[in-house]
Amino acid sequence: MAGFKITVERRLLPSRRLEIAAPVFSILVALVISAVPISLGGVNPIEGYYELLYGALGNKLSLTETFAMFSPLLLCGVAVALAFTCKFWNIGAEGQLYCGGLVAAFFAVNAGGLPAPVAIPLMLVAGFLGGGAWAAIPAVLKVRLKVDEVVTTLLGNWVMYYLVSAILFGPWRNPKTGWPESPIIAESTFYPILVPGSRFHLGIVVSLLIAVAFYIILKKTKWGFELLAIGGNPASSQAMGISVAKQIILAAIVSGGIAGLAGVGQVAGIHYHMKTDLSPGFGYTGVVIAMVGGLNPIGVVLASFLMAVVVQGTQAMHRATGVPWALAEVIQGIILLCLLVGIFFTKYRVRMVKA
């Protein structure tokens, strides 16, 4: 390459087209790269991806299962995207999900006397408040004491996980089975099943409504404008008269609350009790989704669906071909890392020039 050198210069205005093309292209590259571990696992990647797509979307049952997976992922994706919008780096959606599920389950177990139209909204409020309260702690620590929220939200996940575990192995342990599970929640708090014979439950509608609300907040409300302003430049937002500290705490509470709703959905739509393995890492996947979706509501919906297809489809690929199920995480991680390369190219122009 003598006589050439690579120059990197910042793009003055990242183009809209590039911002949409980058994630799409990154995902395609990630799928090509993921073909390497798939073939190392002794499976023809084309057959593997066919099984993945068919297993996630091929028939009515698999499609409803993909939507059941889509719901918690979308809520966690919106939760993280909302917090990241104002640069509150919430990587604690996992803990907030557990806290929301715990509080909601506590309410729902004891809600026997209430009719469903009363009990379900109250359960949603309980879950929202649970997740929001858990997120409020790192937010207050950040604005009052300047304690970095990346570390506190991350460590908070483990505190909450062990707290839930202690409760479920202790006072709440199922006396009949001995399993670390809460009692079954009251039947009136079960999310109605919307597609008979499947697990397509009310929570899927709840998550889509939350995504719409996120869109309206960002595009149409003063609060959304303020969050975007804080994310753009906290100092000048303060100068514009925005109370940055207050808005960050509020955003953290709403973010944690939405993650809490994901916990509610798993309790009331899937398991009907609180359990220690309520989430296989939805909160962390939420970070991947928020980034792949570019913190944009529509992008987050699409990215959540993609991740649901990957998770659900990989399980099908595992059953059909025997390729280890850990592949789902491998693909997710590779998608996120490829996206980071894509983001780089939207920000910088890389050229080879004659020296």
Partner: protein, 313 residues
């Protein structure tokens, strides 16, 4: 008066505390290097798992455990360089890149293990783990001797690494460069320090050491690999760096405290006490958050932590 059985128990808990501390010592020294240079390595949990997996596979395949440790170190160094590519060369957000590394590596560690090992009859394959090496004379000291001076080789090495790391970071030219890069990269750059090279180096150290910490779990502690073998120990290392206020010399005490809590919990479960052991497992995280709050106003976090560096030329 302490009875002989109680003394035996104290020795056993203390010895266990050292063993639980070992992976934390390696991971935390590595993380301290990365953070001193201004990079938060949230990939550490995944790198530990990859070290555990690679170390086990090579140790199992060749029958030479030290070759396994070496392989873990090489894999860890490569992963550290990948993390550096994202955070230093591309300037990606550190916590996002780190999380991506951890997600990919968590999956990959089990995936590679699974496709390399042919399952025989349901029993996971295992190696005969590293044994203990008694140090002559010192290991005969009552109570303490058997706990401290009859340990695994990797523990001795880890303990020696602590003052070495402290010396490198505080007394050498390299250490000065690392700290300068972590505090004020553009000033360091002006002073002729290659910011990019220092961050690459520190992340390679971080990756290599955390992977050895992972290999400890599979080769020294259990003799086998399981998915999620680290059980969040990588995050405990992140906590420990903060808990030790970014001072390497405090790592031994901090790791022994966190390891000791774990040892106590395991011992109490072992003798059949019904304790909510989860409250013990929670302690490292709670203590770290409390420490963060307590020292909030005078915490010594590197000033440029979490910020990428781009030369504007």
């Amino acid at each position: 008066m302490t009875s002989p059985t109680e003394l035996v128990m104290i020795t056993s808990i203390l010895a266990m505390a050292f063993r639980m501390a070992a992976p934390l010592i390696y991971g935390t020294i590595g993380e301290a290097f990365a953070e001193k240079a201004g990079v938060l390595n949230l990939g550490i949990e995944g790198m530990m798992l990859m070290g555990a997996s690679a170390g086990f596979l090579v140790g199992y395949g060749t029958g030479d455990l030290w070759l396994g440790v070496g392989a873990a170190a090489v894999v860890g160094i490569m992963l550290g360089l990948v993390m550096a590519f994202f955070t230093v060369t591309l300037g990606a957000q550190q916590h996002v890149a780190g999380l991506g590394m951890t997600i990919a590596c968590t999956g990959l560690s089990f995936y590679i293990y699974r496709i390399s090992i042919v399952d025989v009859g349901g029993i996971p394959p295992h190696v005969k783990p590293f044994g203990t090496i008694p140090i002559p004379y010192l290991s005969e000291i009552p109570v303490l001797g058997d706990a401290i001076f009859n340990q695994h080789a990797l523990i001795y090495i880890g303990i020696i690494l602590i003052p070495l790391a402290a010396f490198i970071l505080s007394k050498t030219k390299l250490g000065l460069s690392i700290r300068a890069v972590g505090e004020n990269p553009s000033a360091a750059d002006t002073a002729g320090i290659n910011v990019f090279r220092i961050r690459y180096l520190c992340l390679a150290i971080a990756g290599g050491l955390s992977a050895i910490g992972g290999a400890w779990l599979s080769l020294s502690q259990s003799g086998m690999f399981l998915p999620g073998l680290t059980q969040g120990r990588g995050w405990v290392c992140i906590a420990l760096v903060v808990f030790c206020n970014w001072s390497p010399l405090r790592i031994l005490g901090g790791a022994l405290l966190f390891g000791g809590i774990d040892a106590l919990q395991l011992t109490m479960q072992g003798i059949g006490w019904r304790v909510p052991y989860q409250l013990f497992l929670m302690m490292p995280y709670v203590l770290t958050i409390i420490a963060l709050v307590a020292v909030a106003r005078r915490a010594r976090a590197p000033a440029a932590l979490l910020s990428s560096y781009k030369r504007e030329d």
